[in-house]
């Protein structure tokens, strides 16, 4: 855990963060609103005392309640990983700015996230499905995606989460989909 990084982030992004800086193991985490993404990422990438030059990962998350896009960054200035959570994307119309201006290599990662979650990255020049066929209509990693599992409809169904939460709408005894506070 890098305490100085925490202080620097708190000072620099005090008015942008929607929660405290969290640190656990070798990861420092900040949480921002989706609207501030471009500004915060540009600052993280360009400013000489931050210099997060490598985008290690871009992940979509469906918490069941809303959507997030999670970025992991690397900088030579700190021994920690930096996790930036762009929070609070509505599930019915998730939209966020693209990072292809800073990292052209984010293009495919954003295409993958679009393919799996339906998150629209505004400004990505090539936002089409990357794994699923072009005529595919649903987004498989969303939590309300129906996993056609025979076990869910078997007499023993409902014992495990998968069977409880992936039952199609209208099935008797259907419970709310799995959610998490992430």
């Amino acid at each position: 855990m890098d305490r100085t990084l925490r202080a620097r982030l708190e000072k620099r992004f005090a008015d942008r963060m929607s929660g405290p800086v969290r640190q656990r193991h070798d990861t420092t985490e900040i949480r921002i609103g989706a609207a501030d993404l471009t500004e915060v990422m540009t600052a993280l990438h360009d400013e000489p005392d931050l210099e997060f030059v490598l985008l290690a990962d871009l992940a979509g998350v469906d918490t069941g309640d809303h959507m997030q896009v999670v970025y992991h960054l690397w900088s030579a200035r700190t021994p920690d990983w930096l996790r930036v959570i762009a929070d609070g994307l509505p599930r019915d119309n998730p939209r966020i700015a693209t990072l292809t201006g800073l990292w052209p290599g984010a293009e495919w990662m954003e295409r993958e996230t679009y393919d799996m979650f339906g998150i629209i990255f505004e400004g990505n020049r090539d936002l089409r499905r990357i794994y699923m066929p072009p005529d595919y209509t649903s987004f498989p990693l969303r939590k309300d995606f129906y996993l056609p599992d025979d076990a869910a409809r078997s007499p023993g169904g409902g014992v495990r989460h998968m069977e409880r939460t992936h039952v199609p709408t209208g099935t008797p005894g259907r419970v709310a989909r799995r959610t998490v506070k992430a």
Binding site: H72, W74, W103, R125, Y131, P133, P134, P140, M162, A182
Partner: protein, 414 residues
């Protein structure tokens, strides 16, 4: 040979006679039979005078799996290209959400099947962070030892593939001798030759045994010499070198902006290795160097990427040697309950796989299954470079560039 001279934006429809002909012989249509979805797609699938499409893959021997690439060519020159992925997509991330923490290990194994121990390592490390487990030191040493062995086997295979894609048949046979020795060795402790399913949350599945040690000792006594001999087989081959030198140059800034990691990044002059940048396991205790090439302003070419992997094999041999000398006694598993329910939280772990940063982001919701598991495969990001590097090159160089990036489609398609 008819050339496509469609006006811009006019896409072939299903009743187009040319497409019918393609269907009759069972070939792929280069132009998709639906309207373009993005500006980039519209731009790519419109032809200027003298240009035509040629379809490569998905069953092409030099695409390292089932990758399909639509090349837009002008004569022998590649103008642009559009990789089409998804032929191996199995939805592993979704499967992980419905399997418990121990099952995840076998789910992620077949992703990057050439070096599958690294597929296990990243999720296992992420779960250990979620659970706050301390892994016994002997287990960590075994992980490093087996991991580095597999790195050597992966790089040896790369060397052979590289030559094969450039038309040399012999080196792949020598590569498979090396790989066979190593997988047989690992089979002695894991029971598998390819999808090992060996790492466990909190340790490893089995201790080192006599067969493994005797095979390893036997191999170590001649590994370095054999490596140099294999290098001698290729590195002085003039055709091989001349087809790679100066082709597919990537400079430092471009490599970082394309989010490339692993040997491809280090061959462009950036000394970034997860083993040193974010030390994990027992790597801080081990003495090894991070080979870097292509430090000049022009960056590294295909030859640099090839040579860098050979340098890495030497470093891996050093690490294995140290592991064998420093291997402590003790347990190989931490004491954990059979059913794991980590407290709700998030964890990210990354390891340096033979192809670059292999990461896992796991979210726990307090149940025995991960709520979300994101797998970051290095080949997926590295493959994006192909589109950039190939423009202006000849079709024949497509193979040299793609092989030098060392993609594995199993990991790319997840």
């Amino acid at each position: 040979m008819t050339t496509f001279t469609d006006p811009i934006g006019q896409h072939a429809s299903a009743d187009d006679p040319r497409i019918m002909l393609d269907n009759q012989i069972g070939a792929f249509e280069a132009v998709p039979p639906y309207p373009p979805r993005t500006e980039r797609e519209a731009e790519f699938y419109s032809l200027r005078d003298g240009e035509m499409f040629i379809n490569m893959g998905p069953q092409h021997p030099s695409t390292h799996g089932v990758l399909r690439v639509v090349l837009k060519i002008n004569g022998e020159q590649v103008v642009d290209l559009d990789p089409v992925l998804g032929y191996l997509h199995r939805g592993v991330e979704k499967l992980c959400e419905t399997s418990d923490y121990h099952h995840v290990i076998s789910q992620v194994d077949p992703l990057e099947y050439v070096s599958s121990l690294f597929n296990e390592w990243a999720p296992v490390m992420a779960f250990e962070k979620l659970l706050d487990v301390e892994v016994p030191r002997r287990a960590e040493y075994i992980r490093v030892l087996t991991g580095e062995l597999l790195r050597i086997s992966s790089h040896a295979l790369f060397q052979g593939w590289m030559a094969l894609d450039l038309g040399g048949l012999t080196p792949i046979l020598y590569s498979f001798i090396e790989r066979d020795e190593i997988v047989e060795m690992l089979a002695a402790i894991t029971g598998q030759r390819m999808l090992f399913n060996y790492f466990r949350i909190g340790g490893v599945n089995g201790d080192l045994n006599h067969e493994f040690m005797s095979r390893l000792g036997d191999w170590m006594s001649r590994a370095a010499k054999q490596h140099e001999a294999n290098i001698g087989l290729l590195n002085e081959n003039e055709i091989f070198v001349r087809r790679m030198r100066g082709i597919g140059k990537v400079d430092k800034d471009t490599a970082l902006r394309m989010a490339v990691t692993g040997p491809n990044l280090r061959a462009s002059g950036v000394a970034y290795d997860v083993r040193r940048a974010h030390p994990y396991s027992v790597y801080p205790e081990l003495d090894f160097d991070i080979p870097v090439r292509g430090r000049g302003p022009e960056g590294g070419d295909s030859l640099d990427r090839y040579l860098l992997r050979l340098d890495e094999v030497r470093e891996s041999l050093r690490i294995i040697d140290q592991c064998l000398h420093a291997m402590p006694d003790g347990p190989i598993m931490a004491r954990l309950p059979r059913l794991l329910r980590p407290r709700p939280g998030r964890a990210w772990a990354a390891v340096e796989a033979p192809r670059g940063l292999y990461g896992t982001y796991a979210i726990s919701d307090g149940t025995d299954q991960p709520f979300r598991m994101k797998i970051h495969d290095p080949s997926f990001v590295n493959l994006q470079l192909v589109g950039m590097l190939m423009r202006g090159n000849l079709i024949a160089d497509t193979m040299a560039v793609m092989a030098s990036l060392d993609p594995v489609m199993g990991g790319i398609d997840k």
